[in-house]
Point group: C2
Chain length 584, copies 2
């Protein structure tokens, strides 16, 4: 063992002890007659001291050669520091070094190994092994480990069994694009990497393993949006002999446990909201309910006047921005510019100041009088001092736009407090959603989701209206989990494939094994999957998942550190019965 202690544990109680430490040179201050070195490891920093009087000449000379990030081992005596550092757990002591071994030299790192580094994103990713030495990244990875351990221990205690499902499975065109793996032994055939262990966990239910979970990597070959990864980690869960209520309770229990164990926060009961209400009140199926600014629908009080924009609109909807009457005209204009950006896409915004004296001043005073505006205030819940922001247009679009505005305002007003946690169940999702591109309905969750009891007949006449036994768990405006009660009989599953446009042959080729399984006694079952990367980030009061992944990929799906993907040998291609077919 290269050390008797780590660099974070020595304190005044160890004074006069002989110790051996090993770690990296964080920094070194050479005063000529005296050299201080901050020695760093995973656990902290301990100050080393070399001085002309007390340190042997050769060691003192050697200490002068130490550069940043050198790996060294020292032996020495713990002594009291003359000027203590109360910000450091080891700040009362230092080590008077009697032996120094340079275990490995280091060339100058491309960025500083400090909490606030001078390294940009790209450089940090290329040298991720150096980035991991920095406290913010190191602590994020340790935090992730703690969350995963807490999840496993909680679910195990609750009788769940972690079962490993295969990574080399079968490609199915439904859903997102699969990563595929050519099979050498079965020429011309491919495995696919799982987008989720969905069918396997359902088969485990058919197999009687009635409480399953797995923390598991999943894969999606999608054009990457910011902060999406081609490989990501799920806490995948499934239960048999349960109804929706049981699933909600089980995983509310898990989430409550995490909030308590990891964040020290007790939350009694998670509120529930219908999907339709979430869309109506927040324009969003994952509302951040840490703050208000609920939507107020204003059609009934706006479409009686000559304002053509509102009269033509399917939806007129507003929010009351708390204290927003303080915004200057310039600030409001900037807000309007913000919502007109192509990413949001609103055509404009009507606003109304609610003055402290109870009077109103709107951007459409030409059309609406004080009595009208008072109704707006009433419906949006505005109070004197607030600003009412109103958008109008096509319902789906305008809801999305106002939701973006609401989130942006909340961020600007500091209402999205990272240490406040507001979980929320959103339930009764639609079963299907219309896809403009393919001009047909797709499963909103996935084709194994069961419709609400008694609604299956609606599929024939009004498919968009059918609600599913599907639910999302939302935390602070992020979907951290989602799931559904599944179909568990062959007839309904066949019907569903039929409605989704599968021919019976396609359904059989892709999911025949599942429908076969349903014939041999499938129990009612359902489940939920958490996105671990995001869950961990949010529990840590952050939103960027990349910081919680040891070796993330960039937006082109590349690992810039190891330089992957890369070309492979022709011999490898040949063995796989493949040829490159690059576009010219």
């Amino acid at each position: 063992m290269y050390r008797s202690h780590n660099c974070g544990e020595l304190n005044a109680s160890h004074i006069n002890k002989e110790v051996t430490l090993a770690g990296w040179v964080q920094k070194s201050r050479d005063k000529g007659f005296m050299i201080w070195v901050d020695l760093r490891d995973r656990y902290g920093i301990t100050q080393l001291i070399f001085d002309e009087e007390r340190t042997s000449k050769s060691i003192f000379q050697n200490a002068k050669t130490l550069g940043r990030e050198f790996v060294i081992q020292v032996k020495g005596k713990v002594i009291e520091r003359s000027s203590k550092n109360p910000n450091l757990s080891t700040g009362d002591i230092e080590i008077l070094v009697s032996e120094l071994t340079i275990l490995n030299k280091a060339i100058l790192p491309p960025f500083t190994i400090e909490d606030d580094t001078d390294g940009g994103e790209e450089l940090r990713m290329k040298y991720r092994y150096l980035d991991i030495r920095r406290n913010p990244v190191k602590n994020s990875l340790i935090f992730r480990h703690k969350v995963a351990q807490a999840v496993r221990n909680y679910l195990s205690k609750e009788g769940f069994i972690e079962v490993e499902t295969p990574y080399l499975i079968k490609s199915t065109p439904e859903g997102a694009r699969d990563f595929v793996v050519p099979s050498r032994m079965n020429a011309g055939q491919f495995y696919a990497l799982p987008q989720s262990p969905q069918t396997f966990k359902q088969l485990l239910m058919v197999g009687g393993m009635d409480k399953y979970f797995q923390i598991v990597k999943c894969f999606r070959d999608e054009d990457l949006r910011a902060d999406r990864q081609p490989e990501f980690t799920q806490i995948d869960c499934e239960m048999a002999f349960v109804e929706q209520e049981d699933i909600l309770n089980a995983f509310e229990g898990l989430t409550r446990h995490l909030l308590k164990e990891i964040n020290g926060i007790e939350i009694e009961k998670f509120p529930r909201m219908l999907y339709d209400d979430a869309m109506r009140l927040y324009g969003n199926d994952k509302p951040d309910i840490r703050f208000g600014m609920k939507f107020g629908e204003l059609n009934s009080v706006t479409q009686h006047k000559d304002f053509g924009v509102f009269n033509a609109a399917e939806l007129v909807v507003g929010i009351a921005v708390p204290g927003g009457n303080n915004f200057t005209r310039k600030e409001i204009d900037q807000l309007i510019d913000w919502i007109k950006r192509p990413q949001v896409g609103a055509l404009g915004m009507v606003y109304c100041r609610y003055n402290e004296d109870g009077s109103f001043k709107s951007s459409v005073d030409k059309f609406f009088d004080e009595a009208d505006l008072a109704k707006w205030a009433d419906i949006t819940g505005a109070k004197p001092g607030d600003l009412i922001c109103v958008l109008s247009g096509e319902t789906d679009k305008v809801r999305g736009q106002l939701s973006s505005l609401r989130m942006e305002l909340a961020t600007r007003l500091g209402l999205r407090k990272p240490n406040e946690f507001a979980p929320l169940w959103v339930i009764d999702f639609p079963l299907l959603e219309w896809d403009e591109e393919t001009k047909r309905y797709h499963a909103m969750h996935h084709p194994f989701t069961s419709p609400k009891p008694g609604q299956i007949e609606l599929l024939a006449t009004n498919p968009g209206e059918v609600k599913a036994n599907a639910y999302d768990l939302v935390l602070n405006g992020n979907e951290i989990g989602g799931g559904s009660i599944r179909i568990h009989d062959k007839k309904t599953q066949s019907l569903m494939f039929d409605y989704l446009g599968f021919t019976p042959e396609e359904a059989k080729a892709q999911f025949g094994f599942l429908m076969d399984a349903f014939q041999y006694g499938a129990p009612p079952h359902g489940g939920l999957a958490f996105g671990l990367d995001r869950l961990v980030a949010i529990l840590a009061g952050q939103e960027i998942i990349r910081d919680f992944i040891a070796f993330p990929k960039n937006n082109s799906g590349r690992d810039v550190m190891i330089d992957a993907p890369a070309t492979i040998d022709n011999k490898q291609l040949e063995e796989l019965s493949l040829k490159l077919h690059l576009k010219q």
Copy 2:
């Protein structure tokens, strides 16, 4: 919730309680006026009773329709059984059913859902979800979960951090064949699935994460031998600032913990054996030391006579089979046939009976007298009543053959007791091994393994003699883990790639990132990886790993349940810039 209790928990203390159970019909006995149904779930079996007098007519009629593996829900009262079954935890009670709901019917399963099933391997794999309903498979999966949990909790308590490393990495020609994943976004380029997270865990050490572990899937595209899987699970571990002794202690600690926690067995200190001794005494680098039959080298006492076979042999070596003098001539002839099979490949066997009266009788009495044979007995440790089996030939071959014979005899003699556990460290493995096919040395462990201190110079003159800081953990004749102290400086690593026949360009292209990392202050480090599939099987007293994998693949790498791998759409191929290039 479909049930108030599970099928394994009700006993006499619940008598008169109203309960709801759900599960599968294990079997049903219809006596006309009375029907008993065994209801099964993950937790056990509970007997249901329907009778003409006490059960309503409609329910009684419904009960008559129940077939094997129907999924049902019943409500009823717990009553005392008239004829109790002491072999069942629920054997004192039965449920007098008052409500019966058929949740799902079942067609007849293709094999019986019993501990001893009538289903063959192939059928069981095709319907693995039914196989998992059987206790032996279900219990194996639960056992695996318990082992994995015990590993995680132990290592976490010891300060190890589980870090997830990426699955989409870079292909390297060294070692076994990679599975590759074509990148759509980077046309013509491929990811590889990891054969192990080796380089990533070393980079984590460079990153200061000084105690790492991960239970992780690994992938090897090899022609599958029996009981090998293309995807398998490792407990992957690495530590920084350690020497070999520290690694051995750390993971001996883990293994001791598992043996205690899982098997209730306390083992004080694991013995250690040099690789050279293991080969000399057991002909094998993973000796089963639950029993004796150590090799005795007989060259010095056999090559002075006229027996040409021995005189020509590089090695003459024997074992004393305890009580083997009881073998009939026919049994010995069968043994000789057994070792002549191509899988073993011996040309013949000389044997010598050690009679109870102290006399000897050998198959080569023509050449060797009693005094000679007494020396054989002395060297092999034979006692009266034993049989000495002697093979001769080229050292490496004959050791392998005698090792096979030793294991076979141990199995026949019942010496490989599944509930006895004999761990063993085998240390000081050679750094390189000669490959006949490519006519060059390959890394025996992998190219990151460090040679023993002071031996690196030997690489130039006598590479086969160089020993490595490499070690295996052996349990009951199976390698359950292996690892090494790694090279941690760029110079040595470059030298090693050089000796292994990499050009500097190849080394840089494939492992440049690792050698770069070594320049920025890499600490001394080393590690070990356990094969979880095998470890679990052995802890359960078994050796077939497939039974401990929920959804294993067959020997052609196929999942016969989901029928993967399979062909993919031309559109998918096109998106990946690939064309099939099948041999005609």
